[in-house]
Symmetry: D2
Subunit: 395 residues, 4 copies
């Protein structure tokens, strides 16, 4: 495998490369490919230099073009090929939800590191199986909860860890999109429970659940109200939710709520949260991803100018900004994948761990348990306490 060299204080350093195979080359695959290419010079010197070995797709023409486009060395329509290829050390699963489990399990059995997109599995048991396998394999595993790598979100975590908010007691999160807001928009695979697992809950609600866990702590109980507002669309009957609300109880005594919907006209990708503690508050809106709104009582006593601050999270000492531009030059959605990939590379190189700032398969599993509990709660109309399983089943 090739080497990339960088010069540190002690002179030139060789950076080992890391062979990558990727399943899927659509929207999220493009985001990963962009990050895999650019991480090497943006996060300089990189812990490892990704080498894009092979990409998997469904249509031979399309995957061949994807390989040329994203400069993979090879293309295939059979993901099993990757598992047997020793040049592939990291498997990136950017496929649809019903192709998360089987290829990921195969990659784990083959001893490859794995980055699997969220939701990890379509259900908690499927997710648990993946976590078990990853733990048993002893490889580095990451679940693609990319929003942990938004600088403002990581800053929120660090402010909370640093005690700036005092004791956090409340989390309110919402994730609204509008791509299904028109009842006449057509049926597609994401509306099929068999393929997608769930609807708005698993697709976007899961991000909220992961952020709630990341920022506040483990979720102990939920009370969910899960709806399919538009049960029939041109081309098919919908058997997943399009809208969900839930209240949350955290293990540490905090509480909160989440709302997620694909039916909110004018909200394109509006993930937001507000966190309240005994000493301060935070608010975030993904549509203004470079801002964190912060209310702290740290000002000079008597100053009559208190209020939420619009913090532009682009300072040199803000998380991940070392890779980018001078203050005030905003980053984009695609850029957060650079942070995610760099974090993963560092973990593989042994320069750090995926947890706690990145999501592991354990986090993927735990989010799935919360999702399933919300679905059960919605069916039974009662609060569901969550019993998380250990990584290794008894028995």
């Amino acid at each position: 495998m090739g080497l990339v060299s960088s010069r540190g204080p002690e002179g030139e350093v060789a950076v080992p490369s890391l062979g990558v195979g990727m399943l899927g080359h659509g929207f999220i695959g493009k985001a990963h490919a962009h990050a895999l290419h650019s991480v090497s010079y943006l996060a300089w010197p990189p812990p490892l230099a990704p080498r894009l070995v092979e990409v998997v797709g469904w249509r031979p023409d399309a995957v061949a073009e994807a390989a040329r486009r994203y400069r993979f060395e090879r293309a295939t329509t059979d993901w099993r090929v990757l598992m047997e290829d020793p040049a592939i050390e990291l498997f990136v699963n950017a496929g649809p939800n019903d192709l998360h489990a089987e290829p990921t399990l195969a990659a784990l059995r083959a001893g490859k590191h794995v980055l699997c997109e969220k939701p990890l599995g379509r259900t908690a048991p499927e997710s648990h199986e993946l976590w078990q396998a990853a733990a048993a394999a002893g490889v580095v595993h990451m679940c693609g909860f990319n929003y942990r790598f938004v600088p403002a979100v990581r800053l929120a975590r660090e402010l909370i860890e640093g005690g700036e908010l005092g004791e956090v007691h409340s989390f309110r999160g919402s994730y609204f999109q509008d791509w299904l807001a028109n009842p006449d928009s057509p049926y597609l695979w994401r509306l099929d429970r068999q393929r997608a697992g769930s609807g708005a809950l698993g697709d976007i609600g899961a991000h909220l659940i992961d952020l709630a866990r990341f920022l506040v702590g483990e979720i102990a109980a939920v009370d969910g109200h899960v709806r399919t507002v538009v049960p029939e669309r041109p081309g098919g009957l919908v058997d997943v939710d399009d809208t969900v609300e839930a209240t949350l109880e955290f293990a540490n005594g905090a509480g909160g709520s989440i709302s997620a919907s694909r039916l909110c006209h004018g909200r394109r990708n509006a993930l937001g949260f507000e966190i309240s503690g005994t000493r301060g508050s935070l608010a975030f809106d993904l549509e203004r991803m470079n801002e964190l709104w912060v209310h702290l009582d740290d000002s000079r006593p008597g100053l009559r100018a208190q209020g939420f601050r619009r913090v532009l999270v682009t300072e040199a000492d803000h998380p991940y900004i070392e890779h980018w531009w001078p203050p005030g030059h905003v980053i984009g959605w695609g850029d957060i994948f650079v942070h995610e990939i760099r974090h993963l590379l560092a973990a593989i190189a042994g320069d750090g761990a995926v947890a706690p700032y990145g999501a592991t398969f354990e986090d993927g599993y735990r989010a799935a348990e919360v999702c399933d509990a919300i679905l059960r709660s919605g069916e039974q109309r009662s609060c569901q306490r969550i019993a998380y399983m250990d990584p290794v089943r008894a028995g």
Copy 2:
């Protein structure tokens, strides 16, 4: 009783006056007094001209000064005096929650019109008794859900009624304040269940419930999570909630959620809601009371400039703005009481009804049923369907 004259197209018109007695002269009493004074010239010609007859307070000195300040003819420390005074035709109950029921019932028995502050009673049964009495008395009755009279809120209702949003399917409301955010802020009567009935739920959550009903429709079921984050404060033990989350099911099939808390640093009086329908969306924030955010698909097809509009609700054809200033000149929180009082005066004068744009005692009762259901749900951790009572109890 005196007369105020106005000249309409047919010449001078005598405006009959309406004698008013008011219990309470603190924060909310001041708002009512300000409206009672200014409605006559702002909403010109007024349906009736309020005459401020008598004010009730607890401390002789303070109530005497309040009478001088707000130009009531008389002051008393005994609210019973008002009930026997034929000069008093409208009783405004701006007292604390534990003084809503008894004086209001007495006023109703005395045949007076009544405006009672929210929450109507401390519990659903108490509220129901008040509604029963009001219905039996045949007088005009209003519950002080003042936010119905914010121009942006009324415009929201009219846009929904006009079908601009299509079928409304979701309501998300929040009401955050921070006056108890510091755990060391002292105990006061609002934290005593006996006096206040409930905490954040009845005080500010009730506004959300009323707005949900006003804008979307009747609430059929709730699932609540009710918390007392700070159970002890200097000076006393808190036995009411300070934070509440709930999911809502509406009778018409819509759903949603509310959050209310007094513990959110930096949120001074932040009542907000977002409403989603099949054709459009609305959003509102009380801290920017003169704005309604509207997303509608009414633009020229092909125009690449869609987005939420920041509508400044100060146009001549916007609700209630006829009483005020040219476009762009914002109104304040106190001004919405002018709309409320004018609406009430018109109803008393027979020029309209309190319902549906104002809240009656029925609305006060129904909001109380929802509050009580949320409390029960929080205790039992299960969904509560709500059985509303008729105005007249069987038997």
Copy 3:
């Protein structure tokens, strides 16, 4: 004259009344009447209790109705009547610009206190004549630059005075409206130089000039670009400006710019400014009148949460808020007239002076000099240094 009584610590205190005559009862007259009525109980105890004696209008019917509406004791179509009436102690000139000078001069000669709307005169010489007369009369005089009385504006002044911004070096102001944005909107008196003096410059630009002087200091030189974008409208030829830009030099070395226009679609009443100093910044937007945006470097060193703060100027210790509601309850445009009138009453009662927090006729004159210099500069396309005149002309 009647007395209003209030009880202070030493017992009941009689508040003397102050007879008021007002010219004009349209938009701005209504604002003054509302304040004159409500100041007595809002700003309790009032320094003086206004007694509304007589109102002047042009059409007998309309002024009679205005008297009934706003409860003036008398109505007239001849403003000279007021000057001979000893019951009138304060003359409020809320008439059009071409009726500012003559009635105001008469009132001054009659020894009455005067509040004259802005612009004081239509030109600097006319304004100077008014200031001269006021100074000679020895009465209390105020020019209606009401935006000084916005709590956020007064807070800005106090923060600057307190040194929070360090040395102020820049002021950028803009005032955009849209009521003439459509080129087909019809001609009216405000577009006639003879009646209005100037266009956007004197009407709204003058507010910016006053705020620049109020917040930063005296203006020494200007460079203006004055335009009439729409020179002809249905019904007449426009001979005043509709749009103006100017750069400013302050006597203290600061600099800046202003823009004012009546042609900006979507900006209803958008007065804004941004002020920069060596240690901090301020920003304000009248359409969000209750907010002041403040950037100060007062936080704990090392805290990674710096940014502009959205200060809700509704705290008990914020200027003028003592007259209103608890924190977070916003005030409206009309409410600032209560502050203005209270300030004037206190000056008349001897409890304070109009300057520096209110605008005197001197301020009205100085703003007029700046306006005239901008007009001259626009004609000559060169910088104009401003030579202010003394109150008493030599000779």
Copy 4:
């Protein structure tokens, strides 16, 4: 030279590569390198595939590391080497202002295409010389006014071109930064006239001037007020401006103003503009780069919901978004260089021209003339009409 292949409707297509040499590898050089690397797969298929041949820097160590980092084939400290290298077809000048002219002229003489950062030259004559040389060389030339490639800015241009705003009459632009806001921040080369040409004017004001020209039209006259608020800093005397205001007259009769300053606390990179036309308005703020605020009167008559729209410029039919993500996924500052480089590559490939959507050296020159006129106007305190020179001097 290598080939990149892509498959279009007619099968596989070979994409010729383009050899690139770059001077400078700091902030702006990194932005270009990132774009040169990622354009090939983001803007797929690329018109030409950049091949990074050689990078120039000042310190041997640093430039060698830059070559490794950004994967240039070679590194040098002598820019003259590039001019003799036939493998270099495009010269990217990302050096400091005093290294714009000489290397760029050399590259032009060598027949290379050139992308030169802004400001093109330090003065109008220097800029004119560069334009002359570029025109004479017959190569593709671009000046790095990158903000033309912000999707919201390009959309603004297209809306204006499409007549949505009617006749544009006013442009107000501001560009505020704070990196010199503290008077104690130290001296650096950007404060030296010899090296930088001018200060805030040429560095950030030039962006405003280019946007004014791009969006409204040619500038005919200016009136400037140019200041050095902090004339001395630790380490040196400042002989360039730090703050500038100017009024603008456009050749088409429109007018406007610009303000630029490096001294505005809390404004990190706040380039903004507001444009008013007879039928609509636009507003933009670079700190919220993915939004364009639009006010148009295109709604259904009678709809009481007019207002500025917050348009999220991330739709598939918005400019440049084809290269990126689904709607609502924001892009970052660095991403606009991908648009710029792709535009340049297409021009070199003969698939389009740099003008009008990109800035040529003519645009660089014309902006310099405006800057110089503002400086002269500030010195002379009078309006300066601008006489632009032809590309070829009379001779």
